[in-house]
Each structure stands twice: as C-alpha cells, then as structure tokens.
Amino acid sequence: MSATTAGGRLPSRRHYRVRRYLVEALCMVFGLVLLVWSLLPIYNIIIVALSSHDDVFSGTVWPEHPSLHSFVIVFTEGFWYLDNFWHQFGNSFFVGFMTMFLTLFVGSLASFAIGRLHLRQGWLLSNAALMTYVIPASFLAIPFYRIMQIYGLSNNLWSVIAAMVTFATPYAIFIFSQYGKTIPMELDESARIDGANPLQIYIRIYLPLMAPALVAVGTYALLLAWNEYLYQFLLLSTPRSMTVAVALAQFLNSDESPWNYMMATAIIYALPPMILYYGFRRYMAAGLTMGGVKG
C-alpha cells in the first residue's frame, strides 16, 4: 500500500483498486454477520410475540399464523398475570420520573456545592460518590432490603426510588462536575457583585447553563430506574405495587408459561426506553464522553 501511494503508477493503481474492493467486500460480509448477531434475539422476541400458543411449541423459524393477538391480550389485561398491567406500567413511570427528578435535584445541588462553592470537604463527597459508583448494586441488595424494612418502606414504591436515586446520583455528580468546569466562573462572580446569593446563582445561572448535562443525566436516571430488576423484585411484592419489570419476570414462575403473552409484554415494556434512547442518543453519547463510563 505504501508503494502505491508514493508512486501512483498505472499497474499498481489498478492493483490497489482491486485490493480496495476486496477489503470493502470483506467488510460487508463481516457487517452482515454483525447484523445477524445483533438482531437474532430481537427477531426471536418478535416472532414469539406474534405466535399463537401452538406455534410457540411447533419448532418453526417463522410462525405459521402470525397475529397480534398477544398484544391485544396485554392491552386489555386479558390474562391473570396481566390483571394490573396498566397500573404497573404507571408504577414504572412513577418510579422512573421520580428517580429522574430526585437524581437531578440532589446531584446538581451537590455538584454545585463541590464545584462552584468549593466546599472544603468536597473531595470527600466526590470520593464517596465515586465509591458508590463502583460498588455493584447487587452486592448491597440483601442489607438494603433489611434496611428498607427498618425504615418501614417495605413493599413501597418509595423504597425503589430511594435505591435508584442512590445508585444514579454518583454518576450525576461525576458528569455535572465535569461539565460544570466548562462554565466560566466569571459568570458567578459578576452575579455576586450584582448581589446574588448562591441560591439565585444556582437557579438563574448554573441550572440553565447545565441543560445538556441535565438532559443526559436525566435520561440516564430514567432508563436506569425503568430497566432495573433486582431491587424492584426484592422490594415490591404485591401485584398493585409491582412495576412492569417484576410483573414480567413473574411469568417465569409457572410451568406452563404463555411465552407469547410474555414476549408481547416484554416488547411493550421495552419500547418506551428504546424510543427514549434513540431520541436522546446524541445526549447520551455526549454524557458518556463528557464524564466517563457507566453500563
């Protein structure tokens, strides 16, 4: 390749072109493999949801009589596992949005104190956040469950919200501190000279300028709360208090599980976060590159 770029003689240029097409073709084949790899489980969930009960157990690659019957069942709550489906959907939304608001609230206040007001023990707080960020949530689940009972919050949506805020705030503080450094401190100083107190600076200057980071972290917190399973499963036990994630996993409890209903439920559950994800993809990517990483 180096010879051709340097010389550019005719025979070698043709050689170079053939080689380039070959590489491109190989890449396309590889891309095709990657496409199949990415889509297989998604394809699987869709065909099971479209199948009738008999089709699910017939061993075919595409259902014989594809229908939207399972989705109708879910929408009309027509199966006993799904009796409270819309209520549970509402619960998931409630948990998601509360987590989002509280995470933004607590996170932005803390990062304002650390980054803008230069709280003397700020480094301690950032380290606390960093530590929480790297402790796997599943390792804290058992004591957390006990503690929620002590607080009198068992089988209460607020216990889940508390858990989700706990695990989302460190990331928020991390991102906000990183992003906050791009906002010139002179703005705060001139506001102070005009007689603004920290609260006014926080509301009038800090929050509006942090908007992109707020969107990124808000999306992150909302998705975290919506997608989380373990804590919701442990902390919520009655059908009325469950979120969709817990209700969905309940299907696995019985032996003759209606897989088509389950997959239809799973698709409806997966759609809001996926729409949100693709809608805010730009912000998500910005958030990741701004601060660091989180799965």
């Binding site: 990415s38 699987n44 790297v134 994800y277 990741l288 701004m290 799965g295």
Partner: protein, 305 residues
C-alpha cells in the same frame, strides 16, 4: 456532541486553578461554607442512610466466622466461585477486546457503516430483562430458535444448552457479551474519534501504515482508556445479576450460579440472609483492589482529561 467535547479541555485549564485560589484566600465569601453545606446535605443524607448504613449493617450480618466455614463446605459455593472467575475472566476480555476491535471497524467511512452502528447498538438500548428472557428462550433445547434454525438450515439436532453446566455458562457469557459489547464499542469509538487526525497524517508522512500505525499512534493513546474500561467492566460483570439469573437461571441444579446470583438465592430463596451476605463478602478481596485502582484512575483522569 462535538461542541461539548471541544469546550471541555479549554474551560477546565483556565477556570480551576484561579478559582481555587479565590476560594482559599478570598475570605470575601465567608458565609459560603454554610451555603455549600446546605447544598450538599441532600446527598450527604442519601449517602449516610442508603450507602453507609447498609454497608455497616451488611458487615455486621456477615461477621460470624461460622458462616464462612459453612460456605467453604457448600459445593454450590465452590462451583459459583469457579463460575464467577470464568464468567468475569472470559466475559470481560471477550467483550472488551471485541468492542475495541469493532470500534476500529466502525471508524470506516460509508453510509452502511453508520446504519449498521445504529442497529448494532440495539442490544444496549434494549432493557436487560426482555433481552435475557428472549435469549433464554432462544437457547431452549426443544423449542428454541437456535435449534430450530440449526435443524432447518443444516439438519443438525442441537444440544439442550441449558441442561449442562459449561454450555449454560457459555450461553450466559454469550448473552452478556451480546448485551454489553455495544456500550463499550461506543466508548472506544468516542476515544478513537478524539485522536487528532494530524497524528495520523504525521505518521503517514513517516511511512507508518497498518500495524505500525496502530502500535505507535492508536494504542499508546487508547491504552489508558482500555485499562479503565477493563477495570470498570470487571466490576460491572462481577456484580451482574440479570444475565445469569434469566438466561441459565442458575440451573441445572444451581451449577451455573455466580456470586451475585447465589447470594440472592441464599438470602431470599433459601432464607439464609446471613449466609448470603457472607457469600458476597468473599468477593471483597477481589473487589477492594479493583475499587482502589479504579478510584485513583478515575480521579486522576477526571482532573486531567
């Protein structure tokens, strides 16, 4: 994205040093401390009530030495320990190396590469629960799509994947890699895009192509990111509950459990919370050095990046 990225390094270098000085010597904002404390109180409260208290409570729950001898004698625990090492060791390297190579692939130009990237990140956008339930059914020996495909395409009767310990672990790892590789690919892609094009041009002038270009330009600049991502992913994988719980379900006979799922199983299925906590605690010797190195790394890169 590009605007924020460009703005980041400029703002930081100037603002920080000067303002720290103002805060130390400025005396002018003496009552600031009270304000700052007030702003920090919600987070301090959350940290104390929902992080510190559970940790101390957990340490207390798992403080009996007898629990640990009980653990060591339990064959399920030994199996889970081995499984965890395999799961983390193989899973992490597989998907981090894969993500690193794929990020190079996605640097290629062309509309179809962009479109493919949009589809490729679908697993990341999909919530864990539906994805793993689907994969569980996908691997079902009798009715699963994989064996159906194998049979209708090649006439092969596939094995009953989830009835065997190591096949089950393979399925778990495959599911985990499928779900998490896109995320790390996007991270590496961002890292690669941040490398100034001039470096590559300079390398080309010096005659570096192919592997030498990678070894002398790309890798030195990406090595730190690669290291941090590997560490972070190790911790995430160690604590991962969903993949194992839903794909193999820990079966057959609790032979594919990992530490994260076995602890929950002990505590809630077998009602032995103390044993569950003790089981989680045995991951500490692995966790503490990881957390320590990672906290140092993240703090340093957080200030310099």
């Amino acid at each position: 994205m590009s605007t924020t990225q460009q703005a980041v390094p400029i703002g930081r270098a100037v603002g920080r040093a000067r303002l720290r000085r103002a805060a130390w010597h400025g005396g002018l904002f003496g009552h600031d401390y009270v304000w700052a404390l007030g702003f920090a109180i919600p987070y301090i409260a959350i940290f104390l009530f929902f992080v510190i208290y559970p940790i101390i409570y957990g340490l207390w729950l798992g403080s009996e030495p007898a629990l640990y001898s009980e653990l060591v004698e339990d064959p399920r625990y030994t199996m889970a320990l081995v499984n965890t090492l395999v799961y983390v060791g193989v899973g992490v390297n597989l998907h981090i190396i894969g993500a690193f190579l794929l990020s190079g692939f996605f640097m290629r130009k062309g509309w179809w590469v962009k479109a493919l990237l949009g589809i490729y990140i679908l697993p990341w956008a999909t919530p864990a629960l539906p994805a793993f339930i689907s994969i569980h059914w996908f691997f079902d020996g009798q009715y699963g799509l994989l064996n159906n495909l194998l049979y209708s395409l090649f006439g092969i009767d596939g094995p009953v994947y989830l009835n065997d310990r190591w096949l089950g672990m393979t399925c778990n790892i495959a599911a985990y890699v499928w779900k998490n590789m896109p995320f790390w690919t996007v991270i590496f892609l961002a890292g690669r895009m941040a490398i100034p094009q001039e470096l590559y041009e300079a390398a080309a002038v010096d005659g570096a192509t192919g592997f030498r270009r990678f070894a002398n330009v790309t890798w030195p600049l990406m090595a730190n990111l690669y290291f941090v991502c590997t560490l972070l992913s190790t911790i995430f994988t160690l604590g991962d509950f969903n993949a194992v719980y839903f794909v193999s379900g820990g079966g057959p006979g609790m032979s594919t459990e990992v530490l994260a799922t076995l602890g929950i199983r002990y505590a809630f299925t077998l009602s032995m919370p103390r044993l569950g906590v003790a089981e989680v605690m045995t991951a500490l010797p692995l966790m503490v050095p990881l957390v320590y190195v990672l906290m140092r790394k993240l703090r340093v890169s957080g200030q310099q990046l």
